[in-house]
Symmetry: C2
Subunit: 350 residues, 2 copies
DNA sequence: TTGAAAGCGCTAACAA
DNA sequence: TTGTTAGCGCTTTCAA
């Protein structure tokens, strides 16, 4: 069955008594064959254990049947789930996934991506990379789809609208009756300004104060680190939005360590709806951005670009508010610093 | 700078006025050159934006400078962190990572792995794949390193000793004074029997009863689903070990939903020390298996195999017990087998 | 339906 | 130090 040395198309041709061209056409299902040839080919391939050498094929066709995926941080469950979706669609279509974890780096990114361009037919890249790298990619003679909206027009991007996501959350918090809301952002991300825009768009008209803070990284650890700054102050926000669930969970954990009751003393909400958010206490209110479906969608998109097919009519999904316990307006009591107007609207009972 | 068509080695040779062999040697740093040639090469490559075609190179050298990584479930933070470590070492050594998420499948695994073998110089594969696939891989003419110990001798494997991990945890729980301990395993994993062995090795001599349960999958959801079966019984265990943190967290969450106080009524412990385990309430006692370091180690290992270097003298790391609140023996009283009583837990007073 | 032959871009002898 | 050349395994005209 298995030879010591990999069988080549030539070995198959010889074993089957046909030319290599015929073998090539056979394995690529490019035409029909006489039954006798077909059978000989089938068995020759089988007992030589032959399989195509992708490098050789790639050389002449110029295609690799591989897609590159570059994410900011694979240990962020959002990205892991994007990858899960992308992986599924890639495998189903006969593509392999070349993955690069950027580890939240902002320098040397292009050097990391460079090897991918020759090795793949198309690239999926987080929009959160430096602008010059986005530009370089966009100018490349290779299909690229961005995860999220980069600071550049005219590129393909898949993912939620950041403004919308933020507005959705702001709307809910406003409706809960919070009047002073904190946002812990991550200024190095392109979406940060959009989030802020979405927040302001809803909160400003409602006369709700928005306090802006920044995390050093979009991680739980960074959330923990910034918590004291956000919470230990006379004008402490009544509700705090983390720029993602990880940050929110870090904030919430540290808030509890500082002695705050959640959500009575301070409420929390996140963005992404990572699996963990359901298992923390209290369960985290968040916005589902459908990470896995996003991964599937972006992979479908890049594959259709690569194969010159019309883009899949995957409609842009709407973000979905996930109401859990961490951001319920439970009591109207003290929380002061100054006066707290109770009697705000209390629509959602439970 | 950037041509419409990718520049080839021939273009560079022409632009620099040298032969393609010289260019090849130059880009592979195989010898030294006269200053004039060196300079011409440098600038020609630069302004043609040339880069090596990996497929072409691979064809003649037979090497791909890519490593395959197949994990059971990339949304399990353990695997995501293994991948993070592997990614880091791979990139640092000029290798690219071809990743396959097996999605906990147990059929068709070989078909998923097959394309990787021709595309990579070596493979890192979870030991939790079907035995026949392990055998196939082991017989392959390609370096393979397993993540964890598969049911087969004589293969390279990196990761914690499952017996040891289980014993460590059992030792702690015994020391805490628990006398009836539950283990929620995942029978389809090769490590399951070893875990059991490690547990029994410690608990049996101590006269501690071990109750065995199984989760349908190694996930939090499966943990939640099995919780009732584990807990709603007259001989309820005083402490429950999840076969990984995910399962333990699911169990714990559902236990709380069922009205149990943790760890007073029932204690929990997991295995892996995924980041989340620190953020649940109460924080989960677990065993650190150093996922990320494992990823680094296994990648170093496979690279040294691929390059015929002596295996890195990475010593096998010991698992580390992480004591947190979920498994502290708080009350010595007799956990009643029936109803729950007492007031609610007031936890943090503030 | 089948085959011959020309490369794809590169490396590695071997020569010069 | 530099160049010539023979392939690596495959696909793809173009003929037969």
């Amino acid at each position: 069955m298995n030879q010591r040395k990999k069988a080549t198309i030539r070995d198959v041709a010889e074993a089957a008594g046909v030319s290599i061209a015929t073998v090539s056409k056979y394995i690529n299902r490019q035409q029909s064959f006489s039954p006798s040839v077909e059978e000989k080919l089938r068995s020759a391939i089988l007992d030589l254990g032959y399989s195509q050498n992708p490098a050789a094929r790639s050389m002449v066709t110029g295609r690799t049947t591989a897609i590159g995926l570059a994410v900011m941080d694979i240990s962020n469950p959002h990205y892991a789930n994007v990858m899960k979706g992308a992986n599924r669609v890639a495998l189903a279509n006969g593509y392999n996934l070349l993955v690069v974890d950027l580890e939240e780096k902002s320098t040397g990114v292009r050097e990391l991506l460079e090897p991918l361009v020759l090795r793949t037919d198309g690239l999926i890249v987080s929009a959160r990379i430096p602008k010059d790298v986005v530009d370089w990619l966009a100018e490349l003679d290779k299909p690229v789809a961005f995860l999220g909206q980069p600071e550049r027009q005219g590129v393909v991007s898949v993912g939620m609208d950041s403004v919308e996501v933020a507005s959705l959350l702001a709307g809910y918090l406003a409706q809960q009756g919070f009047t002073r809301i904190g946002y812990v952002g991550y200024p190095r991300a392109a979406w940060n300004v959009e989030r802020l825009r979405g927040l302001h768009a809803v909160l400003d008209p409602a006369g709700i104060e928005l306090m802006e803070f920044n995390a050093e990284e979009p991680t739980s650890e960074a959330g923990e680190r910034v918590a004291a700054k956000v919470l230990l102050r006379s004008d402490r926000p009544q509700a705090v939005i983390g720029c993602n669930d990880l940050v929110a969970i870090g904030l919430m954990t540290q808030a509890r360590a500082l002695g705050f009751r959640i959500p009575e003393d301070v409420a929390f909400a996140g963005i992404d709806n990572i699996p963990t958010s359901r298992y923390v206490t209290p369960a985290l209110t968040t916005v589902d951005v459908f990470s896995e479906a996003t991964g599937e969608a972006v992979m479908k998109q890049i594959i259709s670009m690569v194969t010159d097919q019309p883009p899949s009519d995957e409609l842009r999904r709407q973000p979905l508010l996930i109401v859990r316990d961490s951001a319920k307006r439970v009591s109207g009591d003290d929380i002061p610093a100054k006066a707290e107007e109770l009697s705000k609207s209390e629509e959602l009972g439970k």
